[in-house]
């Protein structure tokens, strides 16, 4: 399936910056639009997934497109103020955090469109987080050890749970032991 990111924002520099790591990380080409005028061209494409990252200033204009009704489209609001909401991308996030947020959207989309895929491999970072969860560290401690924010830790944990279908800490610990990510004697 073809995947692309449409970044709607007045700033070309921001678009360049986003493209510089989205393409190498996710293999998704980024198309920059400076207004919402042409965005309808990228909706309702068959066999194509489009992630819109749109400046929150355009929120009123975007409403008419009813993006939430379309399974081949997802949306992140590019915001100047930090928000816990899953459909936002904070303008001052670290690259790692942006990657995590985008990855989360892609994963949700995979789940929506491909319910048969049960097992998905964990990324290196998710494995780092899983090891520390199994060893009994709290989110804050994991963040400190890996030099990432607590929000990123939470996002990684959410991804791990979604990929493995395992919710409890005991379950994640058992999984980590069985896959030799940690030794049983390392568990506190």
């Amino acid at each position: 399936m073809d995947k692309k990111v449409i970044f709607i924002h007045k700033s070309e520099i921001l678009a360049e910056g986003m493209n510089s790591f989205l393409y190498p990380t996710f293999g998704m080409s980024l198309i920059h639009l400076s207004s919402t005028k042409d965005m309808s061209k990228f909706i309702d494409k068959e066999n194509s997934f489009t992630l819109f990252i749109i400046d929150e200033d355009y929120s009123e204009e975007v409403k008419k497109f009813n993006l939430s009704m379309n399974n081949n489209v997802d949306l992140l609001w590019f915001t100047k103020d930090y928000s816990e909401s899953e459909d936002t991308l904070y303008a001052f996030s670290s690259i790692e955090e942006v990657k995590t947020r985008v990855e989360c959207v892609l994963r949700n989309h995979d789940i929506l469109t491909n319910r048969n895929s049960l097992v998905k491999d964990l990324s290196d970072r998710e494995i780092d987080v899983l090891k520390l969860v199994a060893k009994g560290f709290a989110n804050r401690e994991i963040g400190e050890k890996l030099y990432i924010s607590i929000h990123t830790v939470i996002s990684h944990r959410k991804n791990i749970t979604e990929k493995l279908g395992i919710k409890s800490i005991s379950g994640l610990t058992v999984y980590a032991i069985l896959n030799k990510l940690v030794e049983p004697q390392e568990i506190s």
Binding site: S168, S170, Y175, I177, L178
Partner: protein
């Protein structure tokens, strides 16, 4: 799904839903049912028939919603049922699981099951502790509130009740589900027979616990809320 009614025979309902064998036991009805119907058995044991109907139907049908006339339950009988369920969890399911874990560990010390035993034991200890606290402290406290007896407000118990299903048995039920899922997906033991038994007990326990939680929340803890609104 066919509902169980007061005129059904005990032998019939248990033969069709074996899970109810243990449930009837917890309701104080032992085997050698003879030709007894639900109504007759309840009269004989002076057991609230509405409670019987609600409990057995919840166990056989996840989507069961009782009719209004069955909503008025004897809380004393309900508390007794919930307490006996806890005893069954502690004295039947957990020892069975422990025995099977040990058996597999002995026969196949390198299997994943042997490696995860310690993690499981820790989760089980938490569950037992939680269970006993509910029997000895929370249930009697709730009964006093519902029956309008004198009681002293206890913040710790109030918080426990307020967290509802989010943290009571749900955590352990989730752990059971995860364990089951992990065994099915990742463990390849040499002793298949024992592993099959372990998965069977885990599944029955998990299902029983889920029904128990549903009954506890819908008919027991909800009474406090009704009392508050009334």
């Amino acid at each position: 799904m066919k509902r169980i009614t007061p005129n059904d025979k005990l032998a019939d309902i248990v033969s069709e839903n074996f899970m109810l064998f243990s449930v009837l036991n917890r309701l104080g009805i032992d085997m050698a049912y003879g030709e007894l119907t639900v109504r007759e058995a309840c009269e004989l044991r002076t057991l609230d028939i509405n409670l019987f109907i609600v409990v057995v139907n919840t166990y056989i049908d996840n989507k069961y919603v009782p009719c209004k006339e069955h909503m008025n339950l004897s809380l004393k009988d309900l508390m007794s049922f919930l307490t006996k369920s806890h005893i069954a969890f502690r004295e039947e399911f957990l020892p069975m699981l422990k025995g099977l874990f040990l058996e597999i560990r002995e026969k196949d010390p390198k299997s994943g099951v042997a490696m995860v035993n310690d993690v499981y034991v820790k989760a089980q200890d938490q569950f037992v502790k939680h269970n006993i606290y509910e029997d000895e402290v929370v249930y009697p406290y709730v009964m006093k509130i519902i029956e309008g007896d004198n009681y002293e407000e206890d913040e710790e118990i109030n918080n426990f009740i307020a967290t509802s299903e989010n943290s009571r048995h749900l955590k352990f039920n989730e752990e059971m589900q995860d364990l089951l899922y992990i065994f099915l997906k990742y463990v390849r033991p040499t002793c298949q027979l024992e592993m099959g038994k372990l998965i069977g007990v885990l599944t029955s326990f998990k299902t029983d616990l889920a029904h128990h939680m549903a009954i506890e929340d819908t008919y027991f803890y909800s009474q406090i809320k009704k009392k508050g609104n009334g």
